[in-house]
Amino acid sequence: MRVDNEMKLEFLSKSQNESFARSVVAAFAAQLDPTIEEISEIKTAVSEAVTNAIIHGYEYEQGYVTIVCRIIDNTIEVEVTDKGKGIEDIEKARQPLYTSRPELERSGMGFTVMETFMDHVSVISELGKGTTVIMKKSFKRD
């Protein structure tokens, strides 16, 4: 499929980059002329994926988080990748309220939020290699 635009962002797995990452993706998505609500949804979904990479992928160790964004027609595709520990059971990780780190006071709602705010969420993960979360959202325009 023809890609209309693409960007790649790479940053250290530091929590202060969460705000930076969601703002960059939102700014890139702005060319699709989204509503304020749609921008909020993208920002929140990206924030959840990046937080997962930092807490669960790298478990607070230092590594790089990579975000690739593509625009294809009226759809934005966001891939968030870490080279961390990987997810043992993806099905379980995606369940609402499930958290592998209950001691951290996590809500366990990260994937549920991504699934609610984006049209499509898929997860590719390999133990010891890392995880990629692919999210897509289309914008309906007249």
Partner: protein, 111 residues
Amino acid sequence: MQVSFETCNNTLIIKLNGELDHHSASYVRDSIDDEILAKNPKNIIFDMSRLNFMDSSGIGVIIGRYKLIASNGGKVGIVSMKPQIRRIYEICGLKRIIPSYDNKKTAIENL
């Protein structure tokens, strides 16, 4: 991210200003817990009128404070949520345990 407090009778009003995500969560959590320890309020109200962003990390912070207050028989309320934050609040099922109000006055009267 800034957190400030106001006390009204036995209710602690927690004013959140900025963006509540995983990065700011530990600062927000510690600030609130210090204030709860110092003031020992019965109820707490989160004033979100100046909160511009929140993700599920913020939900974790709110649920944690709810457990703390509820274990002492107190109540928790949220006021002035912006639409994006209201959606997170609804999706995460917080609505079932923590009521939301339009303003502080109504919240204090109803807690």
